[in-house]
C-alpha cells in the first residue's frame, strides 16, 4: 500500500503521571485509538484513528486524557484549507463519495442567533409562570374553517384527527438502524412520559416499542421498510418522508452489515442485505401522486390518523408546502439544512438546502396568503438547539418543532460526526451490541425528559416575559421578534422588523 497523505485530525494527550494503565480507554474506544504496550508497560495512542468523541476522556478515572485538535498544520491558505486538501487526499485514495454525518458544519449564518425576543415592560404585564397559568399544549392537524353546532350545543363539525402535544416539541425521525435500539427505547419512553411524540424514522417499528403507539409517529419512506398493517394501525400518526434537511434530494442507505437480525425483523428485510431508500418514492413523481399516497394512507387508516409529510427546506419550499397542504396533509414537517443525519454525502450535507428560519417563515407566509394556513400544521426541524430557537420558530409560524440532534446530544452524542462508521462510542448511532449497551435507556430517557422539561420551562419564562400565557398566542406572532445584523431582504423574508424599529 502506498503512503497515505492523511494526517491525524486529533491528538491524544496522555498524562503519564496520571495514567494507571487501567485500560478503560482501550476498552471503550471502538476506533481502537488506545492500546497497551506490554514492552513499554504503557498505554499508547494511535492519533490517526481518533475522532474526538471524548468517550475515553470522560471515562478515564484519573482524567489523564485530553484530546486536542492536532497541531499539525498545512501552510496557511485561505482557499486551500486543511479540510479542502484533506478531502482531496481521501478521495484520491479511495475514489469514494465523501460520507459524513450529523448536520452541516459549514459556517453559514445561524439566523436564530440574529433574532431577539420581546418582553413586556409597563404597558402590559409579564406573567410569572411559577404562579400563573401557562399553557404549552398544542394540537397538530387540520383545523376546520369553523365550528358547527346544533341548538343543543352539540358539536356537529367532523373533526379531522389531531395530535396532542403537551409541549410543542417532538423527537424527529431517526430510524432504527441509523440509531440504536436503546436510543429508540429512550426516545419512546421519554415521549410517553412527556406527552409528546417520537418518530420511528423509516426503519420500521420494533415490536418492543409498539406499546408506545400513541406516542409514535411512523414514517413511510421510499424503501417502505417495515410498513405493514400493524405498523400503520399502531401509530398515532403517519408521516410520509419525502426529504431530510441534511440531504435533500438524496436517499438513505443502511449498509448490510448494520442489518442485524433485529433490524431485519423490524424492517422486514433479510439480514445482511443493504436497506436502500432512494430519494423518490417511486409512486410519487408529482404532487398529485403525493396526494394519492396521502389518501391511500388515510384510506388505510379509515381517516382516523393524521398523515403528515416531511420535506427538506429547499428553494421552492413555500410552493411545495402549499401543494402539500392542498394534497391533504394534516401537518408538514420542514427540515432545514442544518438538520442531522446518520450518514450523508458531505457535499450534499454542506451545500444543499436552505436554513429552517427562512423556510418556516416563507411557508407560513405563503400559506397565510393563500388562506390555508389553518388547514395544516407546521413543524419546524433542522437544528433546534435550545428553547429560544423554539420560541423563535413558533413566532415565525411553526406549530411545533422536531428535535433530533439536540435529543441525541442529551443522550450523550458528542458530535464527532462519525455516525456513518457505525462505531458510535456512545451507543447511539451504532448497531454493534458492544456499543449499543453503552446507552442505558433508563438514564437516557430521564435525560431527555429533563431536557424537554427544562426547555418547556424556559419557553414558559419567555412567554411570560412577552405577557403571553398560551403558546397558541405566540404562533406567527412575529412582532415578538426583532432582527439584528441582517439585510433588509433577510428581514423581509423572515417578516420581522429590525431591532429598534
Amino acid at each position: 500500500m502506498s503512503l497515505s497523505y492523511l494526517t491525524p485530525e486529533f491528538k491524544v494527550l496522555r498524562d503519564y503521571d496520571k495514567c494507571i494503565n487501567c485500560k478503560v480507554c482501550m476498552r471503550q474506544c471502538s476506533f481502537e485509538v488506545h492500546s497497551y504496550d506490554e514492552d513499554l508497560d504503557k498505554m499508547v495512542s494511535n492519533d490517526m484513528n481518533c475522532v474526538n468523541c471524548q468517550r475515553c476522556v470522560l471515562l478515564c478515572p484519573t482524567q489523564a486524557l485530553t484530546i486536542i485538535k492536532h497541531p499539525q498544520t498545512f501552510k496557511e491558505h485561505a482557499n486551500w484549507t486543511y479540510d479542502a486538501i484533506r478531502d482531496i487526499y481521501r478521495q484520491a485514495e479511495t475514489g469514494g463519495v465523501l460520507l459524513s454525518s450529523m448536520g452541516n458544519d459549514r459556517p453559514y449564518p445561524v439566523y436564530w442567533d440574529k433574532m431577539v425576543i420581546n418582553a413586556s415592560q409597563v404597558t402590559n404585564p409579564s406573567i410569572d409562570p411559577l404562579r400563573e397559568p401557562m399553557e404549552l399544549r398544542v394540537y397538530l392537524g387540520r383545523k376546520p374553517d369553523r365550528i358547527e353546532i346544533d341548538e343543543n350545543l352539540n358539536v356537529k363539525t367532523k373533526m379531522p384527527p389531531q395530535l396532542k402535544l403537551e409541549t410543542p416539541i417532538m423527537f424527529s425521525a431517526m430510524s432504527y438502524g441509523s440509531i440504536s435500539y436503546n436510543a429508540h427505547a429512550a426516545l419512546a419512553r421519554a415521549a410517553e412520559e412527556l406527552g409528546i411524540l417520537y418518530n420511528t424514522g423509516e426503519g420500521g417499528l420494533h415490536k418492543d416499542f409498539r406499546k408506545y403507539g400513541k406516542n409514535t409517529i411512523v414514517q413511510v419512506a421510499s424503501g417502505r421498510f417495515g410498513v405493514d398493517r400493524e405498523y400503520l394501525n399502531t401509530a398515532a400518526a403517519i408521516e410520509i418522508k419525502i426529504g431530510q434537511g441534511a440531504k435533500p434530494g438524496i436517499g438513505g442507505h443502511l449498509p448490510g452489515e448494520k442489518v442485524s437480525e433485529d433490524i431485519s425483523a423490524t424492517r422486514m428485510i433479510p439480514s445482511g442485505s443493504d436497506a436502500i431508500s432512494p430519494a423518490p418514492h417511486h409512486d410519487i413523481y408529482s404532487i398529485e401522486d403525493l396526494a394519492q399516497l396521502i389518501y391511500s394512507l388515510k384510506e388505510a387508516t379509515d381517516y382516523q390518523k393524521p398523515v403528515g409529510v416531511k420535506i427538506a427546506a429547499v428553494n421552492n419550499v413555500a410552493a411545495i408546502a402549499s401543494g402539500i397542504a392542498r394534497a391533504g396533509a394534516d401537518y408538514i414537517a420542514i427540515d432545514g439544512f442544518r438538520g442531522g443525519t446518520g450518514a450523508a454525502p458531505k457535499r450534499i450535507r454542506d451545500n444543499v438546502g436552505i436554513p429552517i428560519e427562512f423556510a418556516i417563515a416563507a411557508v407560513d407566509a405563503r400559506l397565510r396568503s393563500e388562506g390555508i394556513r389553518h388547514t395544516v400544521s407546521l413543524v419546524a426541524a433542522g437544528s433546534i438547539r435550545n428553547s429560544a430557537d423554539i420560541v423563535k420558530a413558533i413566532a415565525l409560524g411553526a406549530d411545533a418543532v422536531y428535535i433530533a440532534t439536540a435529543a441525541l446530544i442529551a443522550l450523550g452524542c458528542h458530535m464527532c460526526q462519525k455516525c456513518h462508521t457505525g462505531k458510535c462510542n456512545w451507543g447511539i448511532a451504532t448497531q454493534d451490541p458492544n456499543l449499543v449497551k453503552r446507552l442505558n435507556p433508563e438514564i437516557g430517557y430521564k435525560r431527555l425528559v429533563n431536557l424537554v422539561q427544562a426547555w418547556s420551562h424556559e419557553i414558559k419564562e419567555m412567554l411570560g416575559g412577552m405577557g403571553i400565557n398560551d403558546i397558541e398566542s405566540l404562533k406567527g406572532n412575529r412582532l415578538m421578534l426583532r432582527g439584528i445584523g441582517m439585510t433588509q431582504k433577510e428581514l423581509d423574508i423572515l417578516g420581522i422588523l429590525a431591532a429598534g424599529e
Partner: protein, 242 residues
C-alpha cells in the same frame, strides 16, 4: 356474495362499502362498472375475493394483507403498492410501478406492464412476493429489488422482454425471463444466468397458476428457454463511499 354497481360511485364511498363487507367476512364481492376508483382493497386483510369489472384506479391493493382481487380488464398504476399478502389477477395489462415495495402475496398480469414494476420488492422470511407478467415490461424493471420473484413470459413476443436498466440496484430476489435479454438492458448489479432445475421448478409452479388464471397452454409456455437474473450481491453500493 355481494354485487355492487360501482358506476358513478366516488372511491371513498365505494371503499367504505367494500371495507364494511370485507370486515364482516364477506366471501365474494363483485364490483361492476368500476372506472378509476382508487384504493380498492387498501390495507384490508381477510380472505374475501373481490371481482372487478372495469378499470380500477391507482393504488389498488395498497398495503393489502390478504384478499384476492381479480380484475376483468386492465389495471392502472401502483397496483399492490407495499402489499403484504394476498393475490391479484389482472386479465389485461397494468401500468407503472406495480408491486412497489411489495413484501408478500402474488400478482398475475395477463398482458404487459409499464415502467418500474417490482421496484423495491422485498422478501422477509416466509414472505416471498411474486409477480408474473404475460407480456413484457418497461424500463427499470426490478429496480432496487431486494427479494421475491418476478417472471416475464413475453407471450406476444415483443422485441424487448424488458426495457432498459432492468434490475438496477437489485440486491435480492430473482427475475426469470422467457427468452433472452441484451446485456445493455441490464443494470450493472445483476448477472444473467441459465436456469437450473430448481429454477425451472419454481417457474413451473408460478406458470401453472398463470395458465390456470388466464387459460393458457402450460406446455406451450414452458417449451421455451428462460434466463435468470439475479443480483451480484446483497450490497450493491458497498464500496461507493469514502
Amino acid at each position: 356474495m355481494k354485487t355492487i354497481n360501482a358506476l358513478g360511485i366516488y372511491y371513498r364511498d365505494l371503499n367504505e362499502i367494500i371495507k364494511e363487507l370485507v370486515r364482516s367476512g364477506e366471501d365474494i364481492i363483485n364490483l361492476k362498472n368500476v372506472n378509476g376508483q382508487r384504493y380498492i382493497g387498501d390495507n384490508l386483510s381477510g380472505t374475501t375475493k373481490i371481482n372487478i369489472e372495469g378499470t380500477p384506479g391507482n393504488d389498488m391493493a395498497a398495503f393489502m394483507d390478504g384478499l384476492t382481487i381479480e380484475v376483468f380488464g386492465n389495471g392502472q398504476d401502483a397496483i399492490g403498492n407495499t402489499m403484504n399478502d394476498g393475490n391479484i389477477i389482472i386479465h389485461g395489462h397494468a401500468g407503472d410501478v406495480v408491486g412497489y415495495g411489495m413484501r408478500g402475496g402474488s400478482i398475475y398480469i395477463k398482458d404487459s406492464v409499464g415502467y418500474r414494476v417490482g421496484i423495491h420488492m422485498k422478501e422477509y422470511k416466509d414472505k416471498v412476493p411474486v409477480i408474473v407478467i404475460g407480456g413484457s415490461a418497461g424500463d427499470f424493471f426490478g429496480e432496487y429489488m431486494a427479494g421475491g420473484c418476478m417472471i416475464v413470459l413475453n407471450l406476444k413476443n415483443d422485441e424487448n422482454i424488458v426495457g432498459e436498466y432492468c434490475g438496477t440496484g437489485m440486491h435480492g430476489g430473482v427475475i426469470y425471463l422467457r427468452g433472452d435479454v441484451e446485456d445493455y438492458q441490464l443494470g450493472k448489479e445483476v448477472i444473467k444466468e441459465k436456469i437450473d432445475d430448481k429454477d425451472y421448478a419454481l417457474i413451473q409452479k408460478y406458470v401453472e397458476n398463470f395458465c390456470q388464471y388466464f387459460d393458457y397452454d402450460f406446455q406451450k409456455i414452458m417449451n421455451h428457454s428462460f434466463v435468470k437474473l439475479h443480483p451480484i450481491g446483497k450490497r450493491p453500493y458497498g464500496n461507493m463511499y469514502a
